[in-house]
Symmetry: C2
Subunit: 470 residues, 2 copies
């Protein structure tokens, strides 16, 4: 077996060799892009991905009409770096959007996604797209970092996580989450750069985000658009609309997922009603795995190991459903590797945009796999925790050079030499270390790491600076 | 909350109060029954139940056209008692088909399912059904215990597990399973009461079982029938037809599942071609959870805890897909409790048969839930290991009085007083013990156990007698 023969580095090299779609199946105009991003939803939290009690008819139907990606990864196992990777198509360390001390941005953070990073919104905006960011941003909340400074025409949402800005009078520790009240978290709700509500009424966020998204779709029937709908939920504290209270057998967490599922149904319905279904690429996925330390208020990674915060599969492999009637084969499953890093190059390709030539991109154009015309050009994935490379997947194999518990006072960081090795297609749960039987695979992965590190230039760190230090 | 108010005991009491289906949707003749029973297949081994790399298009399509049951249980966590429960609609301890020393029947066993037990085959045979058992029996291999003595017109298959009768020259321990050869296990293949091949060519069993099943369907276009297709696979040693060798990304285990999936497709296709799809109730399920101690040669329980041999959910909750075009609502999901114990009373009801009045049945008529006309009448489940009651589910709650590792020299049996308590709809992975918060639930479960034990009469033990002791 030679995996090296299949090396693509950067993987976009191969991606750009693929011909643009043409002929009768070509869309009449540049295709719209809708990204629906859940927050901390796990690999096992959708009915058609194996959850026994969460009822997700709209996501299930989306998969029946569309496509499941079963080996789809985010760029990091926590919010801020994951979102930086999605927005830029680059590993978060290239933009400085990761850190070994503060893993995400906080309300006292002074940093954000640097202005010279090029986002999906900027690329598509240059091609004449209308662009909207609805929901959680978490790539910088100071004015210079807001979505409207990163290619979005409009923004409606909260600038960071919904568990931040906890007020002094709120219960301490986990207590606040067990019976969450809106007043416990003084999170702002913004329109563009204005705070319009504080604390945000979190019970209505999923509904209001959805309404805003639908309005944007309806307002752009005649113009290509990019909608980035980044739900605040199911990140703790968990809130849902009154109509969803007590609806799910899975309890509060299930209510929250079922409202997101309702929202997915509303988005697809509005696309259909606007006559845009066949001109719109919709991607549903999550920013990282479930926050397991929150017990029943966290989700499930299904058969995967560990969850949010971890470089085990449960932390970075997420459910992903793509939908594009007439273009994406209905009911298809892609078992090859894909990543949120790939959305930017794929979207750029579909929109006929040029990719920046002055920087390394970590994404591939995955449209061949999406359209069923060829394999996924992605053959590897890097698993960073903060600024350190913990694990690498190459083909079906994943080597863990470092493992660490996701959270806690003693995270038991372990360096492995030789690395642990798992064959993920056979062993998605990462149970059987086969390192001793496959030194040649480890050698290939080391070669990949060496090439990665040789071309590597970290960005200026953004997550450690605080407002008081500016 | 009062669960006691919803008590049904025995649960068949309520089941028989439900009206028979009538009107335009009624079948033209007594409906056929097809039970497809996999061996050691786990809750997480089907693509549409969350497995990332096993390709099961026919089971997935069966679920799209039919119904998933996500809280469906077998009567025991190992082969023999599980099958006794399925065939009789009674807990295996009532028929003596369980033991604390030998957990299943072996080639030197002298026992079997007693002749005075009434099987699904006997009930349907009395109603004029043609009946066939194809595949693994494991309810006694001496002549008086074979399927043809239990209501089946015909039998084709192996009488016990495919890892039995290991020859002295075969590699010892786990070694034999890593590169399995047909010659290692001297398992007989039988037609009715004759051995026609020994050792059975296990590579072709799935295919030959399928062909036999299809022949039976084709031969009974004009007569109601009951087909019990009990696959030998994916029980170790794993074998598949040459056409499936190397087909699955999941390795050998995946190849085996994908051949079973092919078989499911063949069965449904033959029903369609015979014009019988709308007159046939098809149930696909497994006899118990995955044999996890066989590592990559065992399956996956998905998000459930533990596997075969255990009274944790992974041992006894199994995937279940039901199919009956025109009767079972397409794409439906039943999240309430069901069990293989319920197939006998449901089948009897559908066939207009009387149930035996001289014995306790543990099954319910679950047709209301199946047809979407009402809830499942089953509100509890008993989890026996051998002759001991380890755990009880009542509504969404499960109490573990005893827990024990499924296999091994030291199985660490632990008695819990008070019992461990889990809310399975919220916590299917049995992670968060809530016993201290819900003494009232434990009290209700104790009441249920007391009623169960008061009416309880164990059958004469069948699994410990050996041929030499007759």
């Amino acid at each position: 077996m030679s995996l090296a023969a299949a090396f693509v580095w950067p993987c976009t090299e191969r991606a750009w060799g693929i011909e643009a779609p043409s002929g009768s199946s070509a869309p009449r105009r540049l295709p719209n892009l809708v990204i629906i991003f859940a927050d901390d939803m796990g690999y096992g939290d959708i009915a058609s991905w194996g959850h026994p009690t969460i009822h997700t008819p709209h996501l299930d139907q989306m998969a029946v009409e569309g496509q499941k990606w079963t080996s789809f990864y985010v760029a990091a196992s926590v919010c801020t770096p994951s979102r930086a990777g999605l927005m830029t198509g680059r590993l978060p360390i290239r933009s400085g959007m990761c850190s070994d001390t503060r893993r995400v941005l906080f309300p006292d953070s002074a940093g954000g996604l640097p202005a010279d990073e090029i986002t999906i919104a900027e690329i598509l905006s240059d091609r004449g797209y209308a662009t909207a960011c609805v929901g959680k941003w978490h790539l910088g909340h100071l004015p210079q970092y807001l979505p409207t400074r990163q290619g979005f025409d409009q923004y409606f949402g909260i600038p960071y996580s919904n568990d931040m800005d906890r007020v002094a009078s709120a219960p301490s520790g986990r207590q606040a989450f067990l019976d969450p009240q809106i007043s416990f978290w003084n999170v702002p709700l913004m329109t563009n750069s204005e705070i319009i509500e504080r604390p945000a009424d979190q019970t209505t966020l999923t509904r209001r985000y959805t309404e805003e998204a639908v309005r944007f779709i309806q307002a752009n029937r005649d113009k290509p658009f990019f909608l980035y709908l980044a739900h605040t939920m199911p990140h703790v504290p968990l809130f849902r609309s009154p109509e969803f209270a007590g609806r799910s057998r899975r309890g509060l967490y299930g209510d929250v997922i079922e409202e997101i599922d309702w929202s997915v149904g509303q988005i697809l319905k509005s696309l259909r009603e606007a006559g845009l279904a066949e001109e719109t690429w919709v991607v549903f996925t999550s920013d990282n795995g479930p926050w397991l330390s929150f017990d029943e208020q966290g989700g499930s990674a299904g058969l995967l190991r560990s969850g949010k915060g971890s470089t085990w599969e449960g932390g970075m492999r997420v459910p992903c459903v793509m939908w594009w009637p007439g273009r994406i084969p209905a009911g298809s499953v892609v078992r090859e590797i894909g990543s949120t890093l790939d959305i930017l190059p794929t979207a750029a390709r579909l929109a006929g945009a040029k990719l920046p030539q002055d920087r390394v991109l970590d994404g591939c154009d995955i449209s061949p796999a999406m359209f069923g015309t060829g394999p996924s050009p992605r053959n590897h994935m890097f698993f960073y925790r903060g600024t350190r490379l913990y694990a690498v997947r190459l083909g079906p194999y994943k080597a863990h050079f470092i493992t660490e518990e996701p959270y806690g006072a003693d995270t038991n960081r372990q360096v492995h030499e030789p690395p642990l090795l798992f064959q993920l297609e056979i062993d998605p749960g990462e149970r059987w270390n086969i390192a001793s039987a496959h030194p040649e695979v480890i050698a290939e992965i080391r070669e990949l790491v060496a090439r990665h590190q040789a071309e590597f230039k970290p960005g200026e760190p953004q997550l450690d600076r605080r407002i008081s230090e500016r």
